[in-house]
Symmetry: C2
Subunit: 440 residues, 2 copies
Amino acid sequence: MKKIKVGLLGLGTIGTGVARILLSNRDVISDRLGAELVLKHASDLDINRDFGVKFPDGVLTTDSEAVASDPEIDIIIELIGGTGIAKTLIEKAISAGKHVVTANKALLAVHGRELFGMAAEKGVSLAFEASVGGCMPVIKTMRESLVANRISAFTGILNGTCNYILTRITEEGLPFSEALAEAQAEGFAEADPTLDIEGHDTAHKLAILAALAYGIKIRLDDIYVEGISGISPIDIQFAQKTGYTIKLLAISKNDGRAVEARVHPAMIPKSSMLSHVNGQLNAISITGDAVGEMMLYGHGAGMMPTASAILADTVDIAIDILQGGESRMPAMPFTAGHMKEIPIRPIDEITTGYYLRLAAVDRPGVLSKISGILGNRNISLKSMVQTERKLNGAVPLFMLTHPAEESMMKKAIKEISDLDVISGRPVLIRIEEEFQDTED
Amino acid sequence: MKKIKVGLLGLGTIGTGVARILLSNRDVISDRLGAELVLKHASDLDINRDFGVKFPDGVLTTDSEAVASDPEIDIIIELIGGTGIAKTLIEKAISAGKHVVTANKALLAVHGRELFGMAAEKGVSLAFEASVGGCMPVIKTMRESLVANRISAFTGILNGTCNYILTRITEEGLPFSEALAEAQAEGFAEADPTLDIEGHDTAHKLAILAALAYGIKIRLDDIYVEGISGISPIDIQFAQKTGYTIKLLAISKNDGRAVEARVHPAMIPKSSMLSHVNGQLNAISITGDAVGEMMLYGHGAGMMPTASAILADTVDIAIDILQGGESRMPAMPFTAGHMKEIPIRPIDEITTGYYLRLAAVDRPGVLSKISGILGNRNISLKSMVQTERKLNGAVPLFMLTHPAEESMMKKAIKEISDLDVISGRPVLIRIEEEFQDTED
């Protein structure tokens, strides 16, 4: 049986998972591929740890550079992460004519265009299914299954840590800080969780998906990003009572004139499938002109689900090699020269409904003053609720608005904040209603 | 730009959808493919109807045989359906060295092995993504994205008509016949709905998926099939009250010793994602050793979603052609010669929980008699509820059991039915509990 040789760079959690599958599911893979995927070398700075995997003699090495340029190796799997040495090694591997598989979303979001260009020039694949959504085959689905569709929108829950935290606040009424501490204690939130909870990890994924979905060039800076650290149990409770769930979403829409690309917490109807995606799980809903709305759901991170995606890419490339062809698909879904230039719509120009929470002094005329300010900006209220419970001397005032332009909302909020009857910073959460109802 | 020529056989709903996409999304497809997909001929018995699609001159023809053997055509899309002329034309096309794309699940479930064999011999593809799950990329996901996984189970809601009917009974308490009439009036249940409501359509799909998932040969006769016509609003109401939803499921499990393959209505926990799949929508949950449980969700049928899947296959094949290679993947996921022989577990040997509804005379001692019979067969009750409402002189008696072997349950039911205090036929619905909770 023909052998395809693989070099693995980085034996962290995912790398170890890849090694484990390569060694333990070797038979399944070779049955399906009709060839053997052989792990020739796996490199890490420290190879004397217990990886919980029995590596054959001679596989482990500390010399990543040698692996990346080993002439016997056909496919390099890069799982070092970051934009430093990982980039250098990928460039080395591509220059040596090797195909590369990576899960490095930060690297692709920042240097993707350059690396895909290099890969195209050398006629090799740079595969990245594992960079978004773990085991959910979102890259393959967008690129291959929806190839005949104009994709008009996608909405994803793409960060398991954030979704876990929001789920715990929803279920237990924990304050944000406690839910975060719990996620850290459970071992799936980083010691420095900023990248996750401030939405940047989700933005990296959105950048990759928007490029794929619409065949456009998109920069990280184009994406509006807002994290979940400002969400309180009181907001989630109000959302629940009014038929909504709060999720951190990657939202993108393309109406042909401009593309929306934003990451922020949003209230979504409880009747939507996405609202049932809880805990560490991820999901992505994609709308195409032929398929309507479809959804993928599964573990978006973790050792084995991510390793599974890495190996799906690796086998795809192995088939290319067996066929004797070049890289089967251009890395990006639209062929070179056909990338579109569509402007990114600034966040000020989007239109959504809003949830607004204010701390107001309980005095006659306050409500009419606030609704007057909103009315002047063409923002119409759907509901307004004042509870009796006092928070720091003020009563919370909850409002839901009909869709309005963000710039108008910002101006209204500025004006409202300046009122002397308002204390503290208003809390604003966007409402996304346009989901397929599960009752459809 | 290079041209790949396509011949379309059959202009029913799906065929017309394929033509519509080929003509209206031509630019999207060629941008992504780097070549043009040209519809050279589309055949139908009646080409003078208004298809709502503007076919270029000379495309329409009534001569399907000529299309199937046209030397200029690279890919044949068969959408005639059935196991008669469709089979003949596919054979003709394969013999002429053409690749074939089909949505014909009945044909594949019955003659799949023979046709895949022919295709393998000629080195052409026989693609069938559209045969299961409409726009959900279940074939591609199983075959490619989960290639490094041992798949241990899958559970699908794969028939939109049945799911619509069950949803309407659940939401409105309609009797089965009314819900069916409504589905027919809405135009998505066939005039003769037997194939759908008796579960045979779902069984066809299960046969295809089980072969793919486990690399086994499976015959339609091996699949236990039970439809939804016996489900009453009263059963659904009880399920709802006890935390379950009733769905028609395709269920398959593989423990390495035997494969379960069955189609029947089942009670599933309301906390599972599948329980939220309502109306005409379809979903499939797949469990692999690396990915855990994942799910695909979307429109499982209909003109455009199915046409989208047809064209995904067509583009995949077009890439093969552009690469100059042979068929990229064997039609079945396990390469020839590696198919496994695993026995199918007879329905009598499966173990599940059961819901049981009896009509019993309201007389002292009846309950203890029934629970005694169950106890003798090692079936332990989880709950037993007797309502006061009389139906035809008897009171309905509801029971939920802990998991038990089906053969034991059948014997117990036989004995219970024979009691003179029991009237009518007991209603039995299996309970499937093993889903990832959305709270995980």
